[in-house]
Amino acid sequence: MSVNQALDTAPAAAPLKVRFGGLGTGLILAAVWIALIVATGLYRPDFFAQQTLLAVAFTMSIVGVLAIGQGIIGMSGSFIDLSQPAGLIGASLVAVRLSEAGLPFPIVILGAILTGMLWGGFNALIIVFAKLNPVIVTLATNFIGLAALYLVFQLAQVPLNSDIYVFGRQSWLGLPAIFWPMLALVLIVGFLAPRTRYGRRMIAVGGNRAAAKARGISLRATRFATFIIAGGFVGFAAVLFAGTAGPFNPSSANTLQLNIIAGVILAGISLSGGRGNFWMLLLSIGFLSTIPTSLVFFGLSSDTQSIFQGIILIIAVSIDGYRALRRTP
């Protein structure tokens, strides 16, 4: 695939087709998203309301931050992190316990992020030293993690009127406060990933392990770094989750997983690694987060939401697979 990628130097001017190839995904996504919005708006003009915007931005926030983590895992060639729910709930529990202890908000955030990083590091430890595939390792650690969390707690909630509780219910500039950190993180990660040495190493390892290794990139170190960083994003998502979720139990995050994976694939971030643009996550997650609200306006029950989500995922991966088939000679 991307064997001749310049790693530690700025990339030379890429051919036009390559440069704008990524833009196609964005245009299609934007078009589909706008079509959905227009269709819903024509059917029910009251769809265009502040309330809709709030709901969509709210849904986007947690899923968006988790999708950054998933995107990092996918882009670096580790396929999928199925243990995000356990990591998220674990970090949320830490956030709850720290706020119950009355610690200041920055400490709460730091504690949650460190917990997420620790969880990512734990996964990486097994993956790197036992040389096992991340999909199965994270499947197993999610099993173990959620069961262990159930042994620790059944129901948890951040204390009323603590800083994190207030933050979860605030709104800035007409949108939920939790939306802005997500937006900032997607923009920053999307800017840094192809422009920094570490970002390019990560993409290189995902694109072609052997070539990256031949260039002197440590696969182990990169693997550790990607899992710990991705874990950090899970930890930060836990702050947003704990602040907004109300009472939650260890299974509360299981439903998020599909939207995250669908969002990452729709954004054109290849799960087999090496390709993708994090900025596209804003479009894909935005589109996926509009669907539930749209369905409500169309008068469809929330059960139909899964049907649409599932079909969209099947179509997205079929397109992804078809592209890959055409690329390989």
């Binding site: 040389k131 096992l132 199965i136 099993f143």
Partner: protein, 334 residues
């Protein structure tokens, strides 16, 4: 392996064949040992009650659906594709079947129509994965969610369809020699699947496609046809499981089949299958994996230990099984 390659003496081009050693280090042997270990722990901790007909009969009743589903889903794993949608397919199948029964259909035509629906959705999986080259895990994850949505819409606001058929219930809960008839049938099905895998041309084709699809294609096997067939079989098995489930419960509910895919695949992987590479595993090993996991959860149940420990043990067993698979020649991940 590498040591022999380094020696300069000419290879004699005879593939070393050690049936006994292969058997002892093979996947069935390691799950067999695990199974015996679980039995021993059960006998030691719980006492003879653990292997009493009553207790085995209870375990067997719960194992019927996973055994049926696992025996068919194993073909997909063996051919190198994984079908995550089996759990939802079981739920969907039981919902359709219960719906048709509640509309007054006779069980046989209801079952036939249900299986046809399941094959239709299996065909969509096959088109996406084989036709378009979609990533199997992601595509069937989509099918899992879509089918769950369809099932919930079918079940309506009540969230359940009641379709109790006394003849069907009597048939499903028939006991033979103190064990459920359908449990014995499911074991028989597993043995039949094992025969197909190891002794027939079809089985060898499936293994060849899963082991190395390029080599299989060069040998003239249609990789696409085998994989599409395996995905259809997996959907068929899940449909069958759903029908039996609906017969057992006399109803279909939102929770029917929920999470069954993890239960089945965790057990199949513990039993020697791999969801990442095809060509390894055996239906007997898979069934022993299911029995071992059921045994563990039964032991904890009888000792009144928190059921969450089962998931921790299953997770650890899973990691151990994948490590063993890698040591036996699975791909190392770097």
């Amino acid at each position: 392996m590498t040591d022999t390659a380094l020696k300069s003496e000419p290879a004699d081009y005879v593939v070393p064949h050690h049936p006994v050693r292969d058997f002892l280090t093979g996947s069935v042997a390691s799950i067999g040992i695990t199974f015996i270990l679980v039995l021993a722990v059960g006998l030691f901790w719980v006492g003879p009650k653990f292997v009493s007909f009553g207790n085995v009969s209870i375990m067997g009743t719960f194992l019927i659906v996973p055994l049926i589903v696992g025996a068919f889903a194993g073909f997909a794993l063996l051919s190198g594709v994984v079908d995550l949608s089996i759990g939802s397919m079981v739920g969907f199948s039981s919902a359709i079947f219960a719906l048709l029964l509640s509309m007054g259909w006779d069980p046989f035509s209801a079952a036939a129509v249900t299986l046809a629906f399941c094959l239709f959705f299996g065909a969509i999986n096959a088109v996406a994965i084989v036709g378009f080259g979609a990533e199997p895990i992601a595509a069937t994850l989509g099918m899992l969610v879509a089918l769950r949505g369809i099932t919930w819409v079918l079940l309506g606001t009540q969230g359940a369809i009641f379709a109790f058929n006394i003849e069907l219930f009597n048939l499903v809960s028939t006991q033979v020699f103190g064990l459920p008839l359908f449990f014995l049938l499911a074991i028989g099905l597993t043995l039949l699947a094992a025969l197909v895998v190891t002794r027939t041309r079809i089985g060898r084709h499936v293994q060849a496609v899963g082991g190395d699809d390029k080599a299989a294609a060069r040998a003239g096997i249609s990789v696409k046809r085998v994989r599409a067939g395996a995905l259809l079989l997996s959907a068929f098995g899940a449909g069958l499981g759903g029908i039996v489930f609906a017969g057992q419960l006399g109803s279909a509910a939102r929770a029917t089949g929920l999470g069954l895919e993890f239960q089945v695949y965790a057990a199949l992987m513990i039993g020697g299958y791999s969801i990442l590479r095809g060509g390894v595993g055996n239906p007997v090993g898979g069934a022993l994996g299911l029995l071992a996991v059921a045994g563990v959860s039964n032991i904890l149940d009888l000792l009144a230990i928190s059921p969450y420990y089962v998931n921790i043990i299953v997770g650890l067993l899973l990691l151990a099984a994948v490590l063993l698979d890698r040591l036996r020649g699975g791909d190392a991940f770097e």
